[in-house]
Amino acid sequence: MKPITFPDEVAVLISGEAGQGLNTMEAFLCHIIRRHGLCVFASKEIMSRIRGGLNTTLLRISKQPTAAFRRTPDLLVSMRSGGLKRLDERLCEKTVILYDPRMESAAPRGNGIPIDMKEIARDAGGKLYVGISICGILCALLGIPEEASRHEVEAFFKDKQPQENLAAFTAGYARGRKPDLLHSLNVALQPGPRVAGRLMMSGSQAVGLGALAGGCNFIASYPMSPSTGVLTFLAQQADAFGLLVEQAEDEIAAINMSLGAWYTGARAMVTTSGGGFALMEEGVSLAGITETPCVIHLAQRPGPGTGLPTRTEQGDLNLALYAGHGDFPRIIYAPGSVKQAFNVTRKAFMMADRYQIPVFVLTDQFLMESSWLEDNLSYDGKIPERYLVESEQDYQRYAVNDSGISPRAVPGSGQGWVRVDSDEHDERGEITEDFNVRVLQVDKRMRKAEGLEENDDDITLIGGSDGDIMLVTWGSNYGLGQELATRLINPSVSCLHFSRVYPVPQKGLDILRKAKTVIAIENNYTGQFGALLCAAGIHVQDRILQYNGLPFAVEDVYRSLQQKINGGAR
């Protein structure tokens, strides 16, 4: 049998049950492969349960960085019975499959390579160590030198059964060098020096780090997948950075606490997902009328209702956009990479503070829980500016002026009174029922919407602006668009990614107005961002939508674009 060769990339899918250590495997493999000098992008797909079930982790290992999901792996490792059946749809004739014949009733179609998984880790300590043995096999296949690998294992597991893990790894490595594997697979990926020095992190970590950079010192939230990672991250940093981290009794308490914190001059964030956010909407409206800054991290998952709690979707753009009764300005960022996640979260604090409005960071499970590689986050080390004034004797919290931004003072500093009211109020912050004052205050608040600063990095254009087709993506589909635009060059395909989706950046609209064919790619049923573009007068010719709970697979979109371009012919 001629060995299958992977010159540029190998996508490894590992399937196992919750509790089999997939997370540890992913973390370890990402670590060691990157140390070895290869790029890895890892994303997971998990069931809403703690033990059992069938989860997967996909590792795209390559010379050039990738940042999108793939449906069909080159190599599947199935660690639990049922995996082959469940994943059948995702395999092709070329996929190489490592499986345990004792766990499957039938041999896989295609290139199955039986591995006795029970046996392999037996000496090291039994089935708990199957995962690390598999890591050994993979390291061997990837050509990571044995000696170096063993060092990494020792370091990585130094507090967690180092001996057993090392033994299991070594056994796996040996298995990986056996001819049945070595001779049928040829992973010809040459490591390079360019991975070293880069950053690897999850979206949760990036949002958390961005919050710290933005000066966040208060977070109150209620756990909800996939937003909890940010809360956990900040809890870990609380001591070092002097944050207060509080688990609220519900989401309503969380958003109201965050408004109380901002009122004193602290910088607060909440992190939640769609269903939890729905409960915060009255609070968002309160932020709107009281002009209290607030930063909301909304990590999307598929709805409606509880939906698919551990999976991904981009279905809550409309929810964020129209959250809260009445009209008031807001900003919605939707980062597509960890760099963007860091930057927009940081900026969210700045913009919220400066304009005294709610600012959203809209992410999703795919961004939150994948492991990304990034050159750097370009952190400039600046202390965030505070848009606060010391109040004078005759201070008026809601002074009417041209910008609509009334200088904000906080209680306990200055000579004036800081009166904040959820009823319509006059400039002093006292309840009013005067129709003219009402109009003045509405106009003042809405005036802020006109002046909202736009930044160059609110959009990213990949490819030229005069190509044949302009793909539009937002949020976590940044990497997808990038890869598509790079691969589809004839006819010329570019991609415009929005990391700010509302207000839609003018620059982005300008580019789209000139584009020949606009195709919007969104992970939701109705094409919510496309509708926003339509409302802005952009003609969106076509849409690629998906709502099955998975991220877009780059090859699926590639294929459907090819079809659109060639009218079905390949």
Partner: protein, 289 residues
């Protein structure tokens, strides 16, 4: 009314009904604040929505007049972020025990150093007289035409069951006692509940000034540190007892949150240390070599 540092320096049209119990409460509050030596510029009143919740509008102070039911989370955060402020959460019985019931439970468990004043008129005043959680059984309202039928909510018993360290009830009709108790609540380091009986003359024709006088009595021979006895007395109805039912020092939210373990400066004035963040970022870097 004698002048107080909490008087507004201008006239304001007060939106309460002439003769309402709220007028007595504002007097009591100003007096208690003055007695307790609170500086107006350090005072933040946080309220929800309702007639009681309009209180902050009529005092010289900072205020955050938020949403119906949501005074406690706001107040908790204000105190947590700036412990130099004196924070009072003040609202009606519907606002605090109805819409805001979950915050009532869990704020007590946190024990922030705030005072919670609840104007308990046993009715929804501002929305024109529907039953409140504290409405008495049998009272007829516009929605409960055959008489209010649920078990009345017992805020004192609930607070004690949640582990509150300062639990009191006063009546707007007994200004002297009410003033003293609120003063003590202000002095107590932790969450202090003061449920304030007062009449809504527009919608509650049962619990009038006179009714409160006839159906309440001060706690007597009561050991404020005895939880069991506090609970027993909180469960009693005729007469409803007035005074401090329970007082016991407990660790406050400040300590429980650990936010001030190593740094005394108010959260709201803390800046991020960029060097530390740069260090932390370094941890995510793939080592060279």
């Amino acid at each position: 009314m004698s002048s107080s540092p909490f008087d507004l320096p201008y006239d304001l049209d007060i939106a309460w009904c002439p003769g309402c119990g709220n007028f007595a409460i504002i007097k009591i509050l100003k007096q208690a604040l003055e007695n307790a030596g609170i500086e107006p510029r350090k005072l933040v009143l946080v309220s929800g929505i309702g007639q009681a919740a309009k209180m902050p509008q009529y005092l010289q102070c900072h205020y955050f007049n938020g949403l119906h039911g949501r005074s406690l989370p706001v107040a908790t955060a204000v105190k947590a972020c700036n412990p130099e402020l004196c924070v009072i959460a003040e609202s009606g019985d519907g606002c605090t025990y109805g819409e805001g019931g979950n915050h009532f439970l869990h704020t007590i468990r946190r024990n922030p150093d705030i005072v919670n004043l609840v104007h308990n008129n046993m009715i929804y005043g501002l929305t024109k007289g529907q039953g409140a959680p504290t409405t008495m059984k049998g009272m007829k309202t516009s929605i409960q035409l055959k008489g209010y039928a649920l078990e009345p909510f017992n805020p004192l018993a609930a607070a004690l069951a949640m582990g509150a360290g300062f639990v009191a009830r006063v009546s707007s009709g007994d200004a002297a006692q009410a003033t003293t108790v609120i003063e003590q609540a202000l002095a107590y380091p932790g969450y202090a509940l003061v449920d304030i009986f007062h009449p809504c003359i527009s919608f509650n024709k049962l619990n009038t000034f006179r009714w409160y006088r006839e159906h309440t009595d001060s706690l007597e021979d009561h050991d404020e540190t005895d939880l069991e006895s506090a609970m027993t007395r909180a469960m009693q109805t005729e007469p409803y007892r007035l005074g401090v039912f329970y007082r016991q020092a407990k660790p406050t939210f400040r300590e429980r949150s650990h936010a001030y373990d190593t740094d005394d400066s108010p959260l709201c004035r803390r800046d991020i240390d960029p060097a530390k963040l740069a260090d932390l970022l370094g941890n995510y870097r793939i080592p060279t070599g």
